[in-house]
């Protein structure tokens, strides 16, 4: 027995059980950590989720296929557009209309996804800085996020919960002067993000807090089911956009940043670089995007325009049928995976042939990441929970559904 242990025996030292959350400043998204502490060292940590369970799947089953969109907004509310897109793609896959989607709609979908990714990463990195005490850096990125939300607002009218994508198309085309607006916003966000980068990335205190904290090996990351920036930080080059390109991602040129150790600092760097890559993608999309229709020209899939409703027989029928019974999705099941800001966002949809989903299951990226929390912070300090929990970016709405 070591000397240290001897001393502890004499002192009758025992571990402290500490309940962190669900209402604790750091456990945002509402999660509870049950900690067993030896001084400040974490001996064991239990993670408890479910405080934000709202019955997403059941809600979806009670409405038509189209009515599920607002619910998907509220999964990962930082990047609502991505959920919209993922859900629409899954339903379109089930209906077998994926290849009929006009090219312009595909480009716009890619663009709003990347804008949402920007907003998500800005929020996440900013919040991580905030919780490590750097409030100023947080405000810089929040300002960037607000600017990106301005863009999203100009597209769909809402800042947070977009409800923009529709099965077989989009709810509206881009507003006029959007390209210039994007350029204007990016000019500002690049300055802000650069300032954030200079404030933190080489800041000794920040690096000390992040580097080598909660590392995870490639094998463990895969075994836990990591996806997204956390997986890539561990050194696995896996990005759904590259591995299984959907929409027009294969026509766009972008890099996938990969880390080595999987520690918090690598995740931070991966996310920071993904911001630049998303900006690159959006700029390319604006360059390449063709003019043309934004909806599938099939009234059975996409709600027909008002003009058609009053002039065409079939359109008029579907105008009412789609509203009352919902879009008819053929019997079957489909799973579609997309690359969300935090990892793979997949929708598994089952249809019984009626106008309502029989089952709508979402595969959120946070659950595997949250599950590994206890494993990753074991033996670390109480304070290490903060950056670790921040970098996995748990979103309660998505995790608990």
């Amino acid at each position: 027995m070591s000397v240290e242990n001897d001393a502890r025996m004499d002192l009758h030292a025992k571990e402290m059980i500490l309940n962190m959350g669900p209402s604790h400043p750091a456990t945002h998204g509402t999660v509870r950590f049950l900690l067993k502490l030896d001084g400040e060292k974490i001996v064991h940590m239990e993670t408890e989720i479910g405080y934000l369970h709202r019955g997403f799947e059941k809600h979806c089953e009670n409405g038509t296929w189209t009515q599920a969109f607002p619910y998907t907004d509220r999964l990962n509310y930082n990047s609502a557009m991505q959920n919209n897109v993922a859900y629409a793609l899954a339903v379109e896959k089930l209906m077998g209309v994926s290849d009929k989607l006009p090219e312009r709609a595909q480009y716009i979908r890619v663009m709003v996804c990347e804008l949402a990714r920007l907003a998500d990463h800005y929020t996440n990195l900013g919040a991580a800085a905030l919780e490590l005490g750097a409030l100023t850096a947080f405000i810089y990125l929040v300002e960037s996020r607000e600017l990106v939300w301005d863009l999203i607002e100009s597209v769909c009218g809402a800042r947070l919960t977009s409800n923009y994508i529709r099965i077989g198309g989009l709810s509206a085309d881009l507003p006029e002067g959007f390209k210039e607006h994007v350029k204007e916003v990016f000019d500002k966000t690049k300055v802000l993000c650069d300032e954030f980068d200079r404030l933190l990335t080489h800041n000794r205190i920040f690096v000390d807090r992040m580097r080598d904290v909660a590392p995870i090996s490639k094998e463990d990351a895969i075994a836990f089911g990591f996806t997204g920036p956390c997986l890539r930080a561990a050194g696995v080059e896996y990005d759904v956009r590259k591995a299984n390109p959907y929409l027009v991602y294969d026509k766009l040129d972008f890099d996938v940043p990969v880390g080595t150790t999987g520690d918090n600092f690598d995740i931070y760097l991966v996310r920071l670089e993904e911001i630049n890559q998303s900006i690159r993608i959006v700029e390319q999309v604006l360059e390449k995007m063709p003019e043309g229709p934004i909806n599938i020209d099939d009234p059975a899939v996409r709600q027909p325009s008002k003009e058609d409703v009053s002039s065409k027989m079939e359109s008029m029928i579907f105008h009412f049928k789609n509203q009352i019974e919902g879009i008819k999705v053929p019997k079957g099941e489909a799973y579609f995976a997309t690359e969300g800001s935090n990892g793979e966002v997949g929708f598994y949809v089952v249809s019984d042939g009626s106008g309502k989903p029989f089952k709508c299951r979402v595969r959120p990226p946070c659950i595997p990441l949250t599950q590994a929390m206890g494993f990753r912070v074991q033996g670390a300090f109480l304070a290490d929970i903060i950056p670790t929990f921040d970098m996995i970016n748990l979103i309660g709405g998505e995790c608990d559904r």
Partner: protein, 370 residues
């Protein structure tokens, strides 16, 4: 002239009045001016750094006075708030703790000279409340009593987060007091005195300022002082994202305000100590007391010249203090927070050896130069 007649009263009476005036002045500056105004400055300055507008909501008939009314609303809010003592807490200690924290923060200022010695109508005014021979050591001693306030608060709250905060305070303060004491030894060696007034007087020449004679000592002392102050980047004892609010998690109302006030008073005290030790105290660069007084006496006569010189010096002192406060706030709003063990490592493994090296090098130079 009548108002100034008190300076002509010889003996004890004059001394008592002088003492009373000094105490009232310092007390007003600290409690009446700096503690409330700093809350405003901190809001506005952080807002400025973060591209925000900052506090501007509180108004009287639509006039916001640049947000200055928030000072009043803060005070009202804190006074009328429920004074909550959690179940199972030690009521006596829970109540005493904030007092133990705030009183030393006020007392510490008593040995800091905010001006030199002035000969006014035959009475010598020495602008320090208590001109102690042990000077700076008194500040350390008193400041460490303040630490008890935080530790007791953490213990008495019957809350694990408070307890963790309290333990962190104890460890951090202890470590940095050791380092802080050693960083300042260089100053004692250079000026050959512990007396704050002597150290201040020795810095009349611009190039004899502490920062030029003890540059490393300044940086080390400043770092330790920030750590003693328990603000970002050294705010591990309260670390709002980790420990909720650390040792004052269970405090509300005026008791909370006392901890808050103690923090702001410590900022002022630290800035004043830095000014007195490293930035020439009340001296104006390149303008000595005799020069200024001599120049003025040609215009308004010797006594008034001394009086004006005194006011100028006091003004210069507070100006330096204000600049240092500003510097501390910029640091507070720029850097992220250390981790507990990193704070300890910085204290024991970096600052302590460096301050020992500083003492050795200072001693060597003094020996060689004479």
């Amino acid at each position: 002239m009548d108002g100034l007649a008190i300076f002509q009263t010889p003996g004890m009476f004059g001394n008592i009045i002088e003492m009373m005036l000094k105490i009232i002045f310092i007390f007003t500056m600290n409690m009446g001016f700096f503690a409330p105004v700093l809350t405003y400055v901190e809001r506005k300055q952080s807002a400025f750094m973060q591209d925000r507008i900052g506090a501007n909501r509180a108004d009287v008939f639509g006039f916001t006075f640049f947000g200055l009314l928030h000072i009043v609303t803060d005070a009202v809010k804190l006074i009328v708030k429920e004074d909550f003592i959690p179940r199972g807490a030690d009521k006596v200690l829970h109540t005493v703790a904030p007092l133990i924290a705030v009183i030393p923060a006020l007392i510490a200022f008593s040995v800091i000279p905010f001006g030199g010695k002035y000969n006014l109508w035959g009475h010598e005014a020495n602008l320090v409340i208590a001109d102690l021979d042990i000077g700076i050591l008194f500040i350390f001693a008193v400041a460490s009593i303040g630490t008890y306030g935080a530790i007791i608060a953490g213990w008495a709250s019957n809350n694990n987060w408070s307890l963790l905060g309290g333990i962190r305070v104890g460890a951090q303060m202890l470590s940095y007091e050791v380092a802080m004491g050693l960083t300042i030894v260089g100053i004692f060696m250079v000026y050959g005195s512990l007396k704050m007034t002597d150290i201040g007087a020795a810095q009349e020449d611009f190039f004899h300022w502490g920062i030029f004679l003890q540059p490393l000592g300044f940086f080390l002392f400043f770092t330790c002082a920030l750590a003693e102050n328990k603000r970002v980047p050294f705010d591990v004892p309260e670390a709002e994202s980790e420990l909720v609010a650390g040792y004052f998690t269970e405090y509300s109302g005026l008791k909370f305000a006392m901890f808050w006030m103690a923090e702001f008073l410590e900022i002022v005290t630290i800035s004043a100590v830095l000014t007195a030790l490293f930035f020439g105290g009340w001296h104006i660069p390149f303008v000595s007391h005799a020069m200024l007084s001599g120049f003025l006496s040609g215009i308004v006569g010797p006594d008034f010249a001394e009086l004006i010189t005194m006011f100028v010096h006091v003004g210069v002192f507070w100006l330096k203090v204000a600049i240092l406060i500003f510097l501390q706030m910029v640091i507070r709003w720029t850097l992220p927070r250390f981790r507990y063990d990193q704070v300890m490592m910085l204290g024991w493994k970096i600052i302590l050896p460096l301050s020992l090296a500083n003492i050795a090098v200072t001693g060597l130079i003094l020996l060689l130069v004479g």
